[in-house]
C-alpha cells in the first residue's frame, strides 16, 4: 500500500477539530480523488500527508514506513509531492528555477517544454519568467502543478488543480492525469469537485466534517455523489437524507 492513515486527527484551539479520526488506505499506483464539501478537511488532510501540518493524533505510513515524525523535506525525499492549492509566488525565482529544483537536476529546453505542455502552457513564453505576481492565477496554478509533475514522485497530491484554470487548459490537465494513470506515473491523490476528474478516478474518498464519509471504487461512490447533487442543498456532511 502506498499510503495508510491511521486515526489521524488535527485540531486547533480556536477552530475545533478539523480532522477527526481519519483512517484510510490509498493503494499503490491508483488515481484516488478526494472530494467533499468546502471546509470538510480535505486540504488539511493533504497538507498533513505532505508534512506541512502536524497531526494532533494518529499515524501516517508511507510504503510501510511510519513518517508521522518526518519533516516536509524528509517526506519529499521519500517520494511525496504536493501541489499547493494557492500557488506560492517568488520574487526572482523563475519557472525554470522551480522546475529544475523540483526535478533535482538541470532540464533541457525540450524537457521544460514537455512539462509545461502537460499543463497547457507554451514553454517559450514562460520558462524564464519569474514566478511572481505578474502571472495570472491560472498561469501560476498550472506552473505549480508542473513543479509536481517534474518530481516524478511515488505519491503526487494535487489540491484542487482545477481552481482558476480555464476550460481549455483544464481539458489538457485531465488528459495529463489520465496519461499518468495509464503510464504508471505513481500514485495520484487529487482533491477535486470536478466531475471530469471524478470520472477518471479509480477510487473516490468523500471527506466531510473531518471524517471519511465514504470510500470505494468510482463505480460505487460516484452515483451516490451525483444523486446528492440533485438535492436542493449539498447534503454531504449535513446528515440530510436524499429522497
Amino acid at each position: 500500500m502506498s499510503l495508510q492513515l491511521e486515526h489521524l486527527a488535527f485540531g486547533v484551539p480556536e477552530g475545533g477539530d478539523i480532522l477527526k479520526d481519519i483512517t484510510l488506505t490509498v493503494p499503490d499506483g491508483r488515481l484516488v480523488v478526494v472530494t467533499g464539501p468546502n471546509g470538510g478537511g480535505k486540504t488539511t488532510l493533504a497538507r498533513t500527508i505532505a508534512g506541512l501540518t502536524a497531526p494532533t493524533a494518529g499515524r501516517i505510513l508511507f510504503e510501510g514506513q511510519d513518517i508521522t515524525g518526518l519533516d516536509i523535506t524528509g517526506r519529499a525525499r521519500l517520494g511525496i509531492a504536493y501541489a499547493f492549492q494557492q500557488p506560492v509566488r517568488f520574487k526572482g525565482l523563475t519557472v525554470r528555477d522551480l522546475l529544475e529544483m523540483a526535478a533535482g537536476r538541470h532540464l533541457a529546453e525540450e524537457q521544460l517544454c514537455a512539462l509545461l505542455g502537460q499543463v497547457g502552457l507554451c514553454a517559450g513564453e514562460y520558462i524564464d519568467r519569474e514566478m511572481n505576481q505578474s502571472l495570472s492565477g491560472g498561469e501560476a496554478k498550472r506552473i505549480e502543478i508542473a513543479t509536481v509533475l517534474a518530481r516524478r514522485a511515488k505519491l503526487s497530491i494535487f489540491d484542487e488543480p482545477e481552481a482558476g484554470i480555464d476550460l481549455w487548459s483544464f481539458t489538457r490537465l485531465v488528459e495529463t492525469f489520465g496519461d499518468l494513470r495509464r503510464t504508471g506515473g505513481g500514485t495520484l491523490m487529487i482533491i477535486s469537485h470536478q466531475e471530469r476528474i471524478l470520472a477518471i478516478a479509480d477510487e473516490i474518498i468523500v471527506i466531510a466534517d473531518g471524517r471519511v464519509r465514504a470510500q470505494g471504487p468510482k463505480a460505487k461512490i460516484l452515483p451516490t455523489l451525483l444523486a446528492d447533487e440533485r438535492a436542493s442543498q449539498c447534503p454531504i456532511g449535513k446528515e440530510v437524507t436524499v429522497q
Binding site: 508534512g51 506541512l52 519533516d71 523535506t73 506560492v88 520574487k91 526572482g92 529544483m101 518530481r151
Partner: protein
Amino acid sequence: MNKITDELLRIVSDFTGTFKGAYNIREDGGCAGRRSSEHIRLSDLPDRPGLRIDIDPDTRGETVYIPACVTKGDINDVTYNDFYVGAGADVVIVAGCGVHTEDGHDARHNGIHRFFIGKGANVLYKEKHIGTGKGAGGKVIDPVTEIFLDEGSQMTMDTVQLSGVDTTLRTTKATVKARAKLVVRERLLTDGAEAARTDFDVTLEGEDSGADLVSRSVAKGRSRQEFASRIRGNARCTGHSSCDAILADRGVVIATPALDATHVDASLIHEAAIGKIAGDQLQKLQTLGLTAEQAEERIIQGFLK
C-alpha cells in the same frame, strides 16, 4: 599590480587577466594600469586625484573599466572621476570596488563620480562592491554619484554589494532633463554587524523625464540598512521608487521614502515591503526536497539575482 588586486578585480569587474577596451586600474591610491581607446580617453584630473573620462559622441558598443582596489589597512583612498559622455553614445561603464584588510587597520575607498550624459546618450553603469580579509580593520566604501542627464538620455545604474563591506554610505544625486530617464537597480546583502545606508535624491526637471529606482536587499545577522529616497517631480514626469527587503536573524531595515511633487502632472509612486521570508515560500521549496536552509539560500539568491 599585486595578487589581491587581481583577485578583487575578478570579483568586481569581470576581470580575466586583461580588459578589452579602455580601462584604468586604481590600486591603493595609485595607478596600476591605464589604456585609452580611440573613442574613450582617460586622463588625470589637473587639480584632484582621479580621472577625466571623455567618451566621444556616437561611440557605440564600447565598455570602459575603472575599478578601484584597496589591498591593505591604513589607507583612506579618495578619488574623483568625471565622465563626459558625448551625445548619442551608447556605452557600458564598469566601476567595481574591492577593499581588503587583514592587518587590523581600516581600508577605505571613497569614489566620487560625476556623470555628464549628453543628449540622447545611453549609459549602463555597473558597480559591484566587495570587502575581503579578516581582522579588526574596517572595510569601508562610501561612493558618491552625481548624474546630469541631458535631454533624451538614459542612465541605468546596476549596483551590487553582496558581502564583506563593514560600512557603506551610498549617496546618489541626479538631475534629469526632458525625456531623459534614470534607472537604478540596487542589490544589497548585509550580514554580521555590517551597516549600509543608501541615499537617493533625484530631481525630474524636464517634461516627460522619468526615474525608476528599485532596491532589493537582505539584512541578516545583526546588520542594519537604511534606505532613503527622494524623488522631486518639478515637471510633467513619472517617478517610481521601490524598496523591497528581506529580514533574517536580527537584521534591521529602515526605509524612508519621500516624494515631492511640485507640478500638477508629476506622477510619483513609492512602494516598500519589508519582512522575513514567507513561511509558504520555504515550505514550497521543502516539498521539492530542499532543506529549510537550502530553501532560504535559494530564495535569497533569486531575490538578489
